[in-house]
């Protein structure tokens, strides 16, 4: 077993995997890595299962010291990572010798970096997952939903293989996000449908793992008030103020605001790398086309 001592952390540094499933009917949220694509690449670099437990580091402020020789992989945002004094770019596996420090300083490109270890970081799965949900006191290293904290330890038990590097490690631009049209989209005003897909939306600073708010021309829902119903990942709900909220992994499981549809998983991964103030556009897609694109995308992990 190899171990890392956490020397610095923030409430936004969390152990994550793909999330909790089969329990949504009990009111338990999904959780899991916001940028599932980068999580998958980080694991791919070490020949792990693509959803093995990783550390999601948002914005930086995270430092670990190796207690033993450690093999690691990094993908996702460029958060100014250094191994001691040597800069290390995302999209590669690398070695930490005993006593060396890995630190994440500040965001240069993207918002979330994913750190993987051979076989995944050790943690007891709770309700089938290690995903940390602070609000529900589920997951994480201790199982009770705590963010990674200074003084804590991360361990892994796998061995890992050859060193790998990703050809195109950069996080993708989020300028255009695909929305699978559906839910109550037919009950928004015609002008609002035009505005939704033809104007720019700015990401609000009110953003967390539950949802990200988009600022722009208010959208007008004209249908009747709704009875609460299940909310899928990526749903774009529009509360009465007309400013859409993209619901993310830690969203509540049911809700009663009208929705335009939901972002595709690939667009959600891109959105997860956006910082407040960035501008995005929404593009309508139909479910079948998005499904085909998604299956094709997943093939990459098998092909490479």
């Amino acid at each position: 077993m190899s171990r890392l001592i956490i020397e610095a952390s923030t409430p936004l540094c969390l152990l994550q995997d793909a999330g909790r499933f089969g329990v949504r009917h009990l009111g338990v949220t999904q959780g899991g890595a916001l940028d599932w694509v980068s999580m998958s690449w980080a694991n791919w670099l070490l020949d792990n299962a693509l959803d093995a437990p990783v550390v999601e580091i948002t914005l930086g402020g995270f430092t670990v010291q190796a207690e033993d020789y450690c093999l690691m992989a990094l993908a996702g945002a460029d958060l100014g990572a250094y191994v001691d004094e040597r800069a290390i770019s995302p999209g590669r596996s690398f070695i930490l010798q005993k006593g060396q420090r890995l630190r994440f300083t500040q965001p240069f490109n993207g918002a979330r970096a994913y750190l993987a270890a051979p076989g995944g970081f050790d943690a007891q799965a709770v309700l089938g997952s290690c995903a940390t949900v602070v609000r529900e006191a589920l997951g994480g290293v201790d199982g009770f939903g705590k963010a990674l904290a200074e003084g804590g330890r991360l361990a892994y038990s796998g061995t890992g293989g050859a060193m790998k590097v990703l050809a195109n490690p950069d996080v993708q631009s989020a300028a255009s996000l695909d929305v699978i049209i559906g839910a109550q989209i037919g009950q928004f005003s015609g002008q609002s449908l035009f505005d939704a897909f033809n104007t720019e939306w700015a990401l609000d600073s009110r953003a967390d793992r539950m949802g990200m708010r988009l600022l722009g021309t208010p959208l007008q829902y004209q249908g009747p008030s709704l009875i609460s119903e299940g909310i899928p990942l990526g749903a774009i709900q529009v509360p009465p103020d007309g400013q859409p909220i993209v619901l993310l992994n830690d969203r509540q499981t049911i809700g009663g605001y009208p929705r335009l549809g939901a972002l595709t998983p690939l667009s959600l991964a891109r959105l997860a790398q956006c910082l407040p103030g960035e501008k995005v556009r929404l593009a309508p897609v139909v479910q079948e086309a998005a499904h085909r694109q998604h299956i094709k995308f997943l093939q990459q992990f098998a092909d490479r």
Binding site: R24, G27, I181, G182, A183, S228, P232, G261, A262
Partner: protein
Amino acid sequence: MNPRIEVVAIDCLMVRLFDVIAEANMPWMLAATERLRYGFGPALVDLVPSYTTLMVHYDLTALTPAQARALIDQALTDLQPQAQGSGQCHVLPVWYDLSVGPELNLLSQRSGLAVEEVIRRHSAHEYQVFALGFAPGFAFMGLVDELLATPRLNTPRKRVAAGSVGIAERQTAAYPVVSPGGWNLIGRTPAKLFDRERDGYSLMQPGDTVRFASVSHAEFIHLGGDDTPLEAQA
């Protein structure tokens, strides 16, 4: 009943069974749930019931949207309502008291009923669990006696004690853990509503029925209840 299937995400379809909330929906909802679970088998990721809808989240690497739709159509063909009593029936002990249920007075004033009568009416009905949400194990139950129906507090409390029993409009619920909340509180249950060690985790499941039983302070404590007044916890 004329079910509609709506696209809601890349791998989720909403099955809309009804347009209004009614206790009579439940035998149909339970029957549809069972058929869908059986029909999708291992391709089902999650099935999220709520009042009038069932959201089907399926494995998009196993099914195309068209295949998922066909499975739903097939599951709902010749649907028959499930016999009553297929869900579990729970009895939740509740200590109804102003120190842990400060809105007992408000409900009494609004309804013109004595506090004892408010308690009697709340504990007289067998409620349906329509949905779980808001927090793990938080069950939305109804329908509450019309005279007791009360809108949520204008300003939600920052901290509602675990076990608190409340009313919002014609719904009632108990808070599984300490959380913020805007429901009108009328008492507290010692029951453990969500337990990660329990098989099935949540005491109440959608489709179960629940009765509240008024217990004395001594019984509440005996059952492991925490009688710390709400204000003292704030």
